[in-house]
Amino acid sequence: MALTIASREVDGVTVLDLSGRITLGEGSVQLRDAIRDLISKGQTKILLNLGDVNYIDSSGLGELVSAYTTARNQGATLKLLKLTKKVHDLLQLTKLYTVFDITDDEASAIASFK
């Protein structure tokens, strides 16, 4: 299943609800474009909801890192919400779990941007 991205605003935070796969050719570019679009519009608080991301490969992991650094370099903050077990395990394995700010509860995640 290809990646779908839905965007919504909650208390000044842009939440991107991602669903499907983030892999080379099946979502990495979509995610990159979505992040760049938000940042170009001046959005500085971005929450990626990965609760429905059922598959991610090394390209997808790299895209998450790139999204994080792109946001940071532009003065924005990017956080992750609701990891599936597969994504959680891969972030642990690659030590990226320590890089991201990750929360399971959306309300807490939104509040953490204030």
């Binding site: 080379l24 490969d57 090394s58 890192v65 690659t94 990226l96 890089v99």
Partner: protein, 145 residues
């Protein structure tokens, strides 16, 4: 050339992302038929996909004149996958450690690391030209997960 062993499938694919999906689907089917757990199936499928991506993208560089050679086999003790490209080859020992602090924030370079982490055995063979990766997932008590 020897005839394929019973249960062993060999095939050749073009250097496209469609081929990657085909190899991934074949690995998933074999892992499922072998009765692996959901986690193990994910590990096998992901490792095989990473190897296929490397072969198509880095090995053959999407060159339509170069093929990907694939072998999949359930030996009864292990699942064995071979994926070969016809590229210029690479030295696996020279692949930077993606866990090193200076590499942690790189957007690429995690594929070989993940393959090694997710499979029980990984072997590299230089083909001149090309590289063959053999990925092994044990089915018995020797398995990693």
């Amino acid at each position: 050339m020897n005839a394929p062993l019973p249960g062993r499938r060999s095939f050749e694919l073009s250097s496209t992302m469609e081929s990657v999906c085909e190899i991934e689907a074949a690995a998933e089917k074999m892992a499922e038929e072998a009765g692996l757990s959901e986690d193990e199936r994910f590990h096998v499928t992901m490792a095989v996909r990473e190897a296929a991506v490397n072969a198509v993208l880095h090995g053959n560089e999407y060159d339509p004149g170069r093929k990907i050679g694939v072998g999949i086999e359930n030996t009864g003790k292990s699942l064995v996958f071979t994926i070969a490209d016809q590229g210029s080859g690479f030295i696996p020992e020279e692949v930077p450690d993606p866990l090193a602090p200076e590499n942690l924030m790189r957007g690429t370079g995690r594929g070989i690391f993940l393959i090694r982490q997710l499979m029980d055995e990984v072997h590299f063979r230089q083909l001149h030209p090309g590289t063959e990766l053999t990925l092994v997932k044990h089915l018995g008590p020797d398995k990693k997960t």
